[in-house]
Assembly symmetry: C2
Homo-oligomer: 340 residues x 2
């Protein structure tokens, strides 16, 4: 991506092992993330461009001398952040704060996954081997363990979803839809999706949403309160990242409730700080430590209990990536899979 | 209080039972709260004045026909909020969100505790009988169960203080000092107090603070990181309520850490929403449901394991209340007790 709206497929040098803890993967599936649309709308001109993409499944092609767990030929899923798996934060399950970690497809020296191949720093700590072949029918759902399903799960955990809870999900993008899956999986009694796209709301209902709120702002708050007996939702999953969405999330939480936010915030002051205070509403969340949750979610994917791969409604090859961005940004496509 | 800076002692009609669930107490001890200093600095001219005070111990003088638990002659402590004790929020321990609740000394039809007597709505749910006489030496510490000790405890709970945790307390006012007591009581390994008042910091150390940070802003953040091995505190108690204090609190939290805020927020957007997001730092807190925690804290007060009453460094009679406000506002006094 050279600047906002300018995505090009270019031939660049093959990635090589730079550190003994690196691996190289050949990407078999990647995708475009809702968070990629932020730079697609606001990236300043960037000399040399920024390699994009942070979600992938691939086959390990090479490993450095200090890589002992990951082996050549393995099929692996790659979390959107790399991590050593051994620092104090990884030990606590917060791999996104790894002291040797970082993010893919975000500029700097780290490549992007919307590519044929990619260098993986801290390969032993980062990659997770998958117990299937590269053309398994479950591939779309497995790919969501890279980010979007793990992120929806993180939102639900931070929002303290549990049995009997009334849950609201702000945003009907792929993360919000995975948030619905996560809320149902964790035992929510009521799941209210807030969004405006008919087909996405239908998918949310297929995933377990019990109610739909299509209003915005104050009208959304009123409608949601009506649906929840007057007090709001115990758990609110903020899956957008805009100030308006976060304000709505804060205002629809029940006193004593919790907001789990996973939309990358495009605000500095978290809105409605007075209301969350007087209602004792907690606000938690951040980049999901998906490396920690792959193991928890994988059995449900393998055994078909959850189908997050249904969020992909378009598949492109590498040359189709620029149009994939356009389509997602225009809300023509929900989430675009890339098959290099 | 008639307007900012204008506190007068006036003779008003005796409170009377208005609802069958009311009680009347004769106030034996009250005090001035740090939060009373906000209106002392910014209350617009208020016709008729606003009755002030929300912390008291008193003797029950009369009870309504539907009051069955509280009886005449009992010595009781009064939480700063009244609550019915039976609604869904009280059942969950969130008495400050009681559906029949409200706050004392805050304007409206509810009186203040800096007075000879006070009407207590929802008396059965609100008042907590004390197992001592009205002149017991523990009276100052018992009075803190009205608000300040319960509020410090709430900050610590919302900040997830526990054994082995590194804890930072932002603010060396009475709530911050009670936050130190609470952090120690809950097993914190390290307790760092951020403040600038020598005598208060000394009291913090007596209460269990292990380190002191007197800088502000970026310098405070740097010092605190040095004291915590580079990453910040697991648990941060925000006990001020200003935007600057909340920003500092957010920035000194360790990745994956928690801020418990109990300072009444004088901001709308909670500062540093980007940093708390990327560090997965949770922000929780609000008005402390002290009615729920009196029972937990009382044994420690009764048996002398905690001495929160040491925060009182001045005692006045009713006529001394205006000067008490002045002294607290000038930081001459830490916390002023009132003996009507």
């Amino acid at each position: 991506m050279h600047r906002a709206g300018d995505v090009r497929i270019e031939t660049v040098p093959d990635p090589v092992l730079q550190a003994p803890t690196d691996a190289i993967i050949r990407v078999t599936r990647a995708c475009i993330c809702g968070s990629d649309l932020w730079p697609y709308n606001d990236l300043p001109p960037t000399p040399g461009g920024q390699q994009m993409g942070h979600e992938a499944i691939g086959i390990v092609e090479a490993v450095g001398a200090d890589v002992h767990r990951v082996t050549r030929g393995q099929l692996v899923v790659m979390p959107f952040a790399f991590s050593d798996g051994t620092c104090q934060f990884c030990d606590e399950g917060l791999h996104t704060s790894c002291t040797h970690g970082g993010f893919f497809g975000n500029g700097g020296g780290i490549g992007g996954a919307q590519a044929e191949a990619l260098r993986i720093p801290q390969a032993d700590g980062t990659l997770f081997a998958l117990p299937v072949g590269p053309d398994d029918a479950l591939m779309p759902s497995l790919l969501t363990l890279s980010d979007v399903m793990g992120t929806g799960h993180h939102a639900a955990v931070c929002a303290k979803v549990g049995p009997g809870k009334r849950v609201a999900v702000v945003g009907d993008g792929a993360v919000g839809l995975c948030g619905v899956i996560a809320a149902k999986r964790l035992g929510a009694e009521q799941i209210i999706i807030l969004g405006r796209h008919k087909d996405r709301l239908a998918l949310a209902q297929r995933f377990g949403a019990t109610d739909v709120v299509t209003e915005r702002g104050e009208a959304a708050v009123q409608h949601l309160r009506e649906l929840t007996g007057g007090f709001g939702a115990h758990s609110v999953l903020e899956c957008v990242g805009s100030e308006a969405a976060m304000r709505t999330a804060a205002l629809i939480a029940r006193p004593g409730g919790a907001v789990g936010r996973v939309g990358v915030p495009h605000y500095d002051g978290t809105p409605a700080g007075q209301q969350t205070f007087f209602g004792n509403v907690s606000v938690a969340g951040g980049p999901a430590p998906v490396r920690a949750t792959i193991a928890e979610l994988l059995p449900d994917v393998m055994e078909g209990r959850i189908e997050p791969g249904l969020v992909f409604d378009r598949t492109v090859d590498l040359d189709g990536v620029p149009d994939g961005y356009r389509a997602m940004n225009a809300r023509e496509a929900l989430k675009v899979m890339v098959r290099p």
